[in-house]
């Protein structure tokens, strides 16, 4: 009888209102095996991992650890089973030292007052640091460490919990090249020590280097798997894509004016070494595809002047737009619908009327005194034309649904005659009906001659809506695809840093 694998997930299903996130998904991890989990944004990777971590409960399916069926109801259950997570965003307390982080909540205590046993906590931490080849003291505060070192501390913590399976979600997204190499070597070492790893990454090169097996998810289903000697860049990509997409694409009615918006050598604070150049035409929807963290939002913020560290040249209709000055950009009609709707797009504690008129308030205020009747009129006009479902213009925005909140953000800019409208993940967290309405709005706006830049991590959305697609990878535009060449395969190739014959260099005209 063969021994059962460390982890088996069988027939896992999970539905959210309106979406099937996972449907009959299987995943198996052997002892000491490194399994890479690949898939597009929204393929179901994080949902699957959240089920493993006890954040979500599956609607159907079974999880076995070493052959025994288990139920993971909360995060601590996963911990007890020896499953540990290293998230993309680190969960460390950077005001405490290494030992305090490793043993948080499990501090060795001493004496009648049950104070922390300082000697032991540090003595107990050191061996883990050694095992990971980390040459730092356990007394170092975390904010003195690099991100890579902080990540190692999280791995040390996992090991101190006797983790048998470590799940790493995009662990290298903020690491340098040499740090990445170190991490990949560590993954191999852990595997030799008998620790299994589930490695989630968009970077297929890394996957090919460290994985024993690649499991690909697509649309919440198993799309296939590749054994060690079958792992090839192109084979992963073709498993990741290859779904049929119904096209809602509608050609813009407006006469295009190519190159109405010209961006040259734009460098953002996040990627100062990478220059971005592209053109977008009047009446065009230029999609921005790429994997999460490719630098698309940074480009958007730089164009509307919200990145003070940005440099470069932006021209709108031949006129130069100063970089790093949000008011100058707004004066020229360049607006952003940001990704973080509640944090950056709206003042949710204020009502619909106050949000819609916030950027154009001066127009409602002759002699600087606000005429609320005029404000209300404009707000109500936007509510009607955008079909915002709210009891009235005085409703607080925080009481609206996500779709309606997004329409309020749109409303505040539409009332100001946009020349360039940048939408960052415009339909994230929005239900299907409201999505269709927002697509229609974008198309109508383009029809009136507005330049539309749409950043989206939703492949279907990119293909539906865009007239052309610029694909970014690690702060650079790796290619711009014409409508005819906009296939999922091409976009994916460019998004992971590959090349596509059909793609034009970004700054070529």
């Amino acid at each position: 009888m063969t021994t059962s694998p460390l982890l088996e997930m069988r027939g896992i299903a999970k539905r959210f209102p309106g979406v099937v996130a996972l449907d009959d998904v299987n995943l198996e991890v052997g002892r000491g095996e490194v399994v890479a989990l690949c898939g597009e944004n929204g393929a179901g990777k994080s949902t699957l991992m959240k089920i493993l971590g006890g954040v979500y409960q599956p609607d159907a399916g079974e999880i076995r650890v070493e052959g025994q069926p288990v139920r993971i109801l909360k995060v601590t259950d996963a911990m007890k089973l020896g499953i540990a997570f290293i998230h993309q965003e680190l969960n460390v307390l950077d005001n405490l030292d290494v030992a305090a982080n490793v043993f948080l909540g499990r501090e060795p205590l001493l004496g009648p007052f049950r104070l922390i046993d300082q000697k032991r906590i540090h003595a107990d931490t050191e061996p883990y640091l050694k095992r990971l080849g980390l040459n730092i003291s356990s007394r170092t505060r975390l904010d003195r460490l690099s991100l890579a070192q902080q990540q190692m501390v999280e791995i040390a913590k996992a090991l101190s919990l006797n983790a048998r399976l470590i799940i790493m979600d995009e662990p290298t997204s903020s690491l340098t090249l040499s740090e990445t190499e170190r991490l990949l070597a560590l993954v191999r070492e852990l595997s030799q020590q008998g620790v299994s790893v589930i490695y989630i990454s968009h970077r297929l090169g890394e996957v090919a280097l460290c994985a024993d097996r690649v499991v690909v998810l697509r649309d919440g289903r198993n799309a296939g798997q590749l054994k060690r000697d079958e792992i090839l860049h192109d084979r992963i990509v073709s498993l990741m894509v290859g779904r049929e997409i119904k096209s809602f694409y509608v050609e813009s009615a407006a006469r295009r004016v190519a190159g109405f918006l010209q961006v040259r050598n734009l460098r953002t604070g996040r990627y100062p070494a990478r220059a971005v150049s592209f053109d977008a035409g009047k009446g065009e929807i230029l999609g921005f595809a790429g994997l999460v963290g490719a630098g698309r939002s940074e480009v958007a913020k730089a164009i509307v002047g919200l990145d003070r560290a940005a440099t470069g040249d932006i021209k709108l209709g031949g006129e130069s737009v100063p970089v790093g000055n949000p008011r100058a950009a707004i004066r020229r009609g360049i607006y952003l619908v940001p990704e973080d709707r509640r944090g950056e797009g709206l003042v949710v504690g204020m009502c619909v009327r106050e949000n819609i008129t916030l950027p154009s308030l001066k127009r409602f205020a002759p002699f600087n005194l606000i005429r609320r009747d005029r404000e209300r009129k404009t707000a109500e006009e936007q509510m009607v034309s955008l079909k915002i479902k709210a009891p009235g213009a005085e409703t607080l925005v925080l009481n609206l649904s996500g779709g309606n909140q997004q329409k309020v953000v749109l409303g505040k800019w539409l009332a100001m005659n946009p020349k360039v409208m940048i939408l960052d993940e415009p339909t994230r967290g929005i239900d299907v009906g409201a999505k269709a309405e927002i697509y229609r709005l974008m198309r109508a706006l383009a029809g009136q001659g507005t330049v539309i830049l749409m950043i989206s991590s939703d492949m279907e959305e990119v293909l539906h809506v865009s007239d052309r697609v610029a694909v970014m990878h690690e702060g650079q535009i790796t290619g711009v695809l014409e409508r005819a060449d906009c296939t999922e395969e091409n976009i994916m190739q460019l998004a992971v840093g590959g090349t596509v014959a059909a793609a034009r260099a970004a700054d070529m005209n």
Partner: protein, 318 residues
């Protein structure tokens, strides 16, 4: 307006009970005295309210009173400055200090609490040093009777500070509740990031609230100096910033920012002054003064929270 209704009820209730227990409460001299102190405290409390609405705080008000009080008295009696110049200085200095606060907070990103706490210490020490720790006064106000009358005289039978408060209240009501600037103050207090994304110069909005607060502190400082007529630099105006903060909080300002109203702050100030008056009139030992005030603020804030929660639940049910 609904928000202020609770505290207004409390104020009326307190006044009624006191008037019944001690009819002297509604005697003309007592009411005029009360109006005078409401005027003095209301003016700078309004400034503090603006700062609090942006999510900030100003702890230096009391020390600024000491500094400008000493300078004003010395300019008028020792250096023989013409009174308009001295008065202008007494307003210009706090305004400039407010600008400095705003600059440190918005440009150097130092927390408002820290910046103004340093101000509290700095200005108090400076006042004591300039006055050589001696008490300063205005004597018979020879040569600047006009300024004295503007500060502690009467207009239409009402004490000047109260008249000035009414004027400032009307102006600030329009500024806060009807002007674009007022809307920006609230927006910045609620969500600075989203406001910045809407193309509003949030740093200027925040910094300017400290400038306005400084100006109002300057005006209140002159009135207060003439009211006490004796400025002892070591304790003149001490704790006043806390009275102002308490009044603003009682009046519905949230220290998290984004909430508050001019009317609320005025009612909060009035409640506070009536309370002090009540302690005197009802024979409560004056040593308990702070205890009573502390208890009332606590009860007021608790009651407000309960009412808010109920309202929120009601809205959810609808």
């Amino acid at each position: 307006m609904k928000k202020e209704l609770g505290i207004l009820t409390l104020l009326i209730l307190l006044c009624t009970v006191t008037a019944v227990l001690n009819p002297r409460f509604i005697s003309a001299p007592n009411l005029l005295n009360l109006a005078n102190s409401i005027g003095l405290f209301g003016i700078f409390s309004l400034g503090l309210g603006l700062v609090i609405i942006t999510g900030g705080i100003d702890l230096s008000v009391g020390s600024v009173f000491a500094l400008t009080g000493v300078l004003l008295a010395m300019a008028l009696t020792e250096w023989n400055w013409p009174w308009p110049l001295a008065a202008a200085m007494a307003i210009a200095i706090p305004t400039a200090l407010g600008w400095g606060n705003g600059w440190l907070i918005t440009r150097l990103k130092i927390q408002p609490f820290v910046v103004t706490l340093c101000g509290l210490l700095l200005y108090r020490g400076l006042a004591r040093f300039i006055a050589n720790d001696g008490t300063k006064g205005f004597g018979n106000a020879e040569g600047f009777e006009m300024l004295r009358d503007l500060s502690k005289g009467k207009l239409l039978g009402l004490p000047m500070p109260f008249v000035i408060l009414i004027v400032i209240t009307v102006i600030l009501w329009f500024v806060l509740h009807r002007s674009t600037y007022g809307r920006y103050l609230f927006a910045v207090g609620r969500n600075e990031e989203a406001t910045r994304f809407s193309g509003i110069n949030t740093r200027l909005v925040i910094a300017s609230s400290y400038v306005v607060a400084g100006g109002l502190t300057g005006i209140a400082g002159i009135l207060l100096a003439f009211y006490t007529n004796s400025i002892s630099p070591s304790n003149h105006g001490s704790f006043y910033e806390l009275y102002g903060i308490a009044a603003a909080v009682l009046g519905g300002c949230s220290l998290r920012g984004g909430e508050g109203s001019v009317i609320g702050i005025i009612i909060g100030t009035a409640l506070f002054q009536v309370l002090q008056n009540v302690v005197n009139l009802l024979g409560i030992p004056s040593s308990l003064n702070f205890t009573v005030m502390g208890a009332v603020v606590l009860i007021g804030v608790l009651a407000d929270q309960i009412i808010q929660k109920r309202a929120a639940r009601k809205q959810l049910r609808v």
